[in-house]
């Protein structure tokens, strides 16, 4: 026990912390080093803390893995929210986006942070031309931006539209989601980051 590194002692009711000789009840993890095995305090909070799960994007928001992984990002800018992803590194971090506001005079955008990165995946889009109609759009090999313009490329419903992005490898994100379009629907994917 002497010179041991940062043990935590759980004492029974009435137990003297100074004179307790038996090592039973010690927690060998550290608060700052991962009390629950390998997960860090920040990782547990990001996944579990309901009070901070919903994050407003506002007009613009730049994400970091440390602050936004496992969070739900609300696309709520009145004229659109421009959200920039953190650099992709294969971290496995997941970012969930919910459209809260149908953008007026602008678009919601989810974009990578550099021209070397891409968004790869598919988005399903409900259509307004007949009940039950839908379409699907797959990203091109160089696409790096998702644009929801509030009509043809999605973002036309508001709450109910969602996109999930996973940092799957260096320079590449995985994308899946469901959005709502109107008019002559068009792909939300584009290559726009240089």
């Amino acid at each position: 026990m002497s010179s041991a590194r940062s043990p935590l002692k759980v004492l029974a009711d009435g137990e003297d912390p100074i004179n307790t000789a038996a090592p039973s009840g010690q927690i060998y993890g550290q608060l700052d080093g991962g009390v629950y095995g390998d997960a860090t305090k920040a990782e547990i909070n990001n996944s579990c803390d309901l009070s901070t799960r919903l994050v407003s994007a506002g007009a613009a928001l730049t994400l970091t893995v440390a602050d936004h992984a496992e969070k739900i990002i609300l696309l709520d800018g009145a004229a659109g929210s421009i959200v920039t992803l953190p650099p992709s590194a294969g971290s496995g971090a997941t970012f969930v986006f919910l459209v809260k506001t149908v953008p007026s005079g602008g678009s919601h955008k989810i974009q990578v942070s550099s021209g070397a990165e891409t968004l790869r995946g598919s988005l399903f889009m409900s259509k307004d031309d007949s009940a039950g109609a839908g379409a699907a759009f797959r990203s091109g090999n160089s696409d790096d931006t998702i644009t929801l313009n509030g009509s043809t490329t999605g973002g036309a419903l508001g709450y109910g539209e969602w996109i999930e992005v996973i940092d799957q490898s260096s320079n590449q994100f995985n994308v899946v989601g469901v959005v709502a379009g109107t008019g002559v629907e068009a792909t939300p994917f584009s290559n726009a980051v240089s």
Binding site: I18, C48, I72, S126, K127
Partner: protein, 196 residues
């Protein structure tokens, strides 16, 4: 300092606990008080405790009233030919969620209904599914007054196992439902309804 109840010591490396007289570094909260500066032990339980995940809707419990204490649980629909339902807690914007899965196809004219707790609450979502006769994709948007998601085992879905719904309490009076893999038969129709 002696004989007090259950304090937790945080000691720096090489610090010997029995010789540490200065009480600095004591964590005032306990393990149950939110040591993670955010997530409570209950919230960690919502996400990580597999033993509390299943929450089946069965014929002997035709209407299951969910509470915030059930956040993170999975509602497994075992309805078969018996109608059943689940009632959500009031939406407050807590960020809490439930998962709903079809474990057993809905048959014989039965329905399963996921509905809000009061007439002020709504459900927003897009149901993504297929027609099981030709594998075409069918998508249905909720309407402004939608407050329920109902499957009848045929046209409105639930015809086969595999449906997944994650429903999230995103704001006061608003639930958002992510619906993936709804299985329709005959002529697909919207599962969204205004019932409450």
């Amino acid at each position: 300092m002696s004989n007090i109840r259950g304090p937790l010591y945080v000691l720096t490396a090489e610090q010997y606990p029995s010789q540490e007289a200065d009480p600095h570094g004591i964590i005032q909260g306990g393990l149950t008080g939110g040591i993670l500066n955010g997530a409570t032990t209950e919230e960690i339980d919502y996400v990580a405790n597999l033993s509390r995940k299943p929450l089946q809707i069965i014929s002997s419990n035709p209407d299951r009233v969910l509470t915030s204490s059930d956040f993170g649980k999975t509602v497994g629909i075992n309805a078969g030919s018996t109608s059943s339902s689940a009632t959500l807690p009031a939406a407050t914007g807590s960020g809490g969620y439930f998962d709903v899965i079809v474990r057993n196809s809905i048959t014989g004219g039965a329905t399963f209904t996921l509905k809000v707790a009061n007439s002020s609450d709504t459900i927003k979502g897009i149901s993504l599914g297929r027609n099981n006769s030709d594998n075409t994709i069918w998508m249905f948007n909720s309407a402004s007054g939608t407050d329920a998601f109902r499957m009848n085992g045929t046209t409105t879905g639930g015809a086969n196992r595999g449906l997944r719904v994650r429903i999230i309490d995103v704001a006061a009076n608003v639930w958002v439902a992510i619906v993936f893999g709804n299985d329709h038969s005959t002529t697909p129709a919207t599962p969204w309804a205004e019932l409450v």
